[in-house]
């Protein structure tokens, strides 16, 4: 009897679609996947409806890669549905793993976001400001829209997650490794971060590191870089010291500081707090006013420190009223 094909699904919650593209970036490998597996549900690439997933038996899917954060009731509904239908559910990419870029919306309240988008947006027609409602009654019946949540959640905040694959997007080599691990059944303990290193970016980074003393921070374009020297030593913010390695040091190799998308190191809860510790300690000043002046060059420290992980941080959101 022929071996039963692997049943897989891919879904996007609050995501940009980059993770789906990353899966396709595995080039001809995706053809091997298609040969070895039935892709049962993949909104960006394959025709399918939620009803098709609902008709599946529980646990019928062997593997689901869930991209994207949980921003609204639709994201949560499908996350729960796919959890029920899947033997293995993977939080795939930074958004599902840590909240990702959509998670930065946790720095504003739902009211602020709606106000900005639907009421005070310069491109709105005056007098035509409308806030979408989850339910609207019209003559033909009731219309429904997914309810927009008060904040962004990670996938693991709404369902149990078996594995995490970090990255914005995950590197193609790791996507292959994850798929092969599932095919061969060679899986790590549940809850593991798969396809990444246990050490910091700096460990993989080929740049030369010496003593760090910074008197001024720069944006990458403001400086003629030394291509061989640590970016932090040159005053370019790099999240490498507080970020898991495994991507191949993609950003620092192109002269841009690490963005932190691979998330915190093992046992670190709050990536931003760890990173700010690293940034602050290299400032070459002992004078409070001067330290503040040096730090003032950084445009958005909160957003920079928690670029991919606001919903995963200890505080998870802004506490402003």
């Amino acid at each position: 009897m022929a071996k039963k094909k692997l049943q897989i699904a891919l879904y996007w919650g609050a995501a940009c679609g980059g993770c789906d593209v990353a899966v396709l970036d595995t080039d001809e490998f995706i053809l091997d996947v298609a040969a070895a597996a039935d892709i049962r549900f993949w909104p960006i690439a394959v025709d399918g409806k939620y009803a098709d997933v609902e008709r599946m038996a529980d646990g019928e899917l062997d593997l689901t890669l869930y991209h994207g954060a949980v921003r609204n009731s639709e994201n949560e509904h499908v996350a729960k549905l796919l959890r029920r239908k899947s033997k293995t559910l993977v939080a795939f990419g930074s958004c599902a793993h840590l909240g990702g870029i959509p998670g930065l919306a946790n720095l504003a309240s739902k009211e602020e976001i709606f106000g900005r988008v639907y009421l005070r947006n310069p491109s709105l027609e005056l007098g035509n400001e409308t806030i979408p409602q989850p339910r609207t009654d019209i003559a033909a019946g009731q219309l429904e829209l997914p309810a927009f949540y008060r904040r962004v959640y990670r996938l693991q905040d709404v369902v149990e997650v078996d594995y995490f694959v970090p990255g914005c997007p995950p590197a193609p080599a790791q996507i292959k490794a994850v798929l092969l691990a599932v095919v061969t059944g060679n899986l790590p303990p549940r809850g593991a971060v798969v396809g990444a290193s246990e050490r910091a970016q700096c460990d993989d980074c080929p740049r030369v590191k010496s003593e760090k003393k910074v008197r001024q921070f720069f944006r990458p374009y403001e400086l003629k870089q030394d291509p061989y020297r640590c970016l932090m030593e040159q005053g370019i913010l790099c999240a490498g010291p507080a970020t898991r390695a495994g991507c191949g040091v993609r950003c620092p190799n192109t002269g841009v500081g690490c963005r932190g998308c691979y998330g915190p190191l093992p046992d670190v809860v709050d990536q931003g707090a760890k990173w700010l510790s690293a940034v602050a300690s290299i400032i070459d000043s002992n004078d409070p006013q001067e330290i503040d002046a040096i730090l003032a060059r950084v445009a958005d420290m909160v957003g920079t420190a928690y670029r991919f992980g606001m919903p995963a941080s200890l505080l998870q959101r802004s506490m402003a009223k």
Binding site: A280, N286, I291, M301, L315, R317, M319
Partner: protein, 144 residues
Amino acid sequence: MSFEPRIVGFLCNWCSYTGADLAGTSRIQYPPNVRVIRVNCSARIDPSFVVKALAIGADGVLLCGCHPGDCHYSTGNYKALRRYRLLSSMLGGLGIERDRVRLEWVSASEGQRFAEVVTDMTERLRPLGPSRVLSTLKTDRLER
């Protein structure tokens, strides 16, 4: 009954903890609102300690180290100072009142000063009321 803020205090072993000890042995009265944790140096106070204290319900966090120039490890308190300046501005950006996290220098001989710092901090936290962090995180878990 008036609101009693809960303050977590991280005190360096060489100056501030000894200073707090002196306040005790000298029988100086100060509010019982501070829970003291001894660390070897103010540079040991990782910003995540402060964030965690706030996330699990502290109304304020007090960081104490040796006066500038007096650090037992020569520069640890300067590192603490830089981290504090950055952390404080970040917490401000996250909607947490600046008065909730405070860095003070207290030497081993300044028992009186430690008592004054704790008294002052407690009085400043009282009008702010309880920290909203824990209650907000709890509500977020129950209601979307």
